[in-house]
Symmetry: C2
Subunit: 362 residues, 2 copies
Amino acid sequence: MPSERIYNFSAGPSVLPLGVLERAASEMTNYRGSGMSVMEMSHRSQVYLTIFEKTKGDLKRLLAVPDTHEILFMQGGATFQFSAVPLNLIGKTGVADYAVTGSFSAAAMKEAKKYGTIRIAATTEATNHTVIPEQRDLKVLPDASYFYYCANNTIYGTEWKYTPDTGEVPIVTDMSSNILSKPLDISKYGIIFAGVQKNMAPAGMAVVIIDKSLLGGELPYTPKIMSYSAAASSDSMLNTPPCYTIYMLGLVLEWLEENGGVAQMERLKAAKAAVLYDFLDSSRLFRGCAEATARSDMNVTFRTPNEELDAKFVKEAAAAGLCNLKGHRSVGGMRASIYNAMPPEGVGALADFMARFERENG
Amino acid sequence: MPSERIYNFSAGPSVLPLGVLERAASEMTNYRGSGMSVMEMSHRSQVYLTIFEKTKGDLKRLLAVPDTHEILFMQGGATFQFSAVPLNLIGKTGVADYAVTGSFSAAAMKEAKKYGTIRIAATTEATNHTVIPEQRDLKVLPDASYFYYCANNTIYGTEWKYTPDTGEVPIVTDMSSNILSKPLDISKYGIIFAGVQKNMAPAGMAVVIIDKSLLGGELPYTPKIMSYSAAASSDSMLNTPPCYTIYMLGLVLEWLEENGGVAQMERLKAAKAAVLYDFLDSSRLFRGCAEATARSDMNVTFRTPNEELDAKFVKEAAAAGLCNLKGHRSVGGMRASIYNAMPPEGVGALADFMARFERENG
């Protein structure tokens, strides 16, 4: 279906709301009478600062970010944060506790080892990351500078359904793939960060929400652009920010607000995920990869009995306009990423296609 | 003139070619039959990799980058590179030599001091950066890991007209505001880097062109995302790159090629700058800020006899559709940034307006 929009199940970069893209296109050469594209605006100009402040304010309101926390826009994605987190926080005690529940938390831990002593608070490696640790499985000690976990594992299709209790130890969490999918009690977190390219905006930035009391503890060799306090004191304008990405985030947040905010996103995601998981639970051909208690509402991983049939499914689905369903190369199988911008119709079309594929190949 | 495009003299982010913006708008919801926006594409997908490879290949051809050098796309802008350069290079001897010819080279030097011993190879502070050092003024010693300079100073409106001779010491240069404005002999440089938001693309990335023999010397605490060798070995896909910014760069490069490449840009920039400098040299009201020998063809700085008249000029010019002419807040006066995408008609309109303003206020 080359001339129409596809249903895009990519894990990231991912589908964006069509209305947002249409709005961006219509404003491309002349933003609301300014005579310029947003791409062409000085980041210090009033016209751009208005966009910037509205975006930040909308995010603060939508996620109910309390005044104890600061919102930062930083370039470099989650991988940048893998370094920034220990560089800014581990100096307090020299030690941090990491839960390893997938590839990205493992990568974050590996990077953090450059900067201090890293202890494993929990690991799900033994089950190939099909589960999420329970609270009683977490070993977080009081001398940890912070406790780190990845809230949603895109590759394995698992998601933390609770906020860990770590006592006085600040919680740092990577929410790249489930931020804005549900209301959060931000006050429980020391740092929430999220690469924007899944549920927020085109790739090229991370949002960082940080408890202001954690600012100012950088190791001496921290690059200035990785310093949270430098970012906070310059209101994310230490240098030219990724202006257009912030504008796109603003359009997505307006769309989110018009569509009921994060409370409605939570209802929608549960309904969308249930369509696929209910089908998987009764399927004779397909099976879900993650344990039922750990299933992600954002990334639904599944497979057929063999790799050949997996490949056939991915190919035939793409021909039917259901695209990018191949699982991550490290685990195989299939993965349907159903972020906020994936309409229920897309999920329904996928379930229908799976049922038909099962009939034809069962 | 709210409903029309203005002439945008912003120093960065800056004007982009109108045709490029129109093309981006037309492809926004469905890139060439893919059924997706470029913003929505997985960076590992074939459709996106084709864009990525073409952009990198076009840049290599347009700048005649030899096979001895690698092209990297890195997030974070020039400020990110201020840290990355010493983290990757200074480990060789622990010492580097910096020429300070403006605010950005001073900022780069300050950051580098975290990582080694920094010597001043030259400074133009005594003249408030209105000149550029001559070759005989440069003190570069053989034990330097590298020599650093900023090739064009946007704030002061000065530009290096020659490539320094540093013997065996690798040259690192920040070309954020004059890359792609003229042909270069890349083989003379160890590293050329440039934030893209002036002459290349919307803000959110830097292009790094690095002599491959300089790869692999990172200090042990270098964040992985700042490692040039990690970027090179992953072909700039260590993590999700700023995909849409790379796509926009690709469109700008196609425009550049259709318009005669860097050789033609060099002719055009000289002609555009001459219109303004010739006017300034004969003006009774305005005067250029930089010494004649050091004048930048990209950023033309000038002023009237007093600040009130400067402010009046900036205001009346904006009302005539000649926008963002206010000088940097640190130096005052006016600045006309006339990068590749500024059409000669815009420069002509500015010169005409300046002549009229002089008649009315002389």
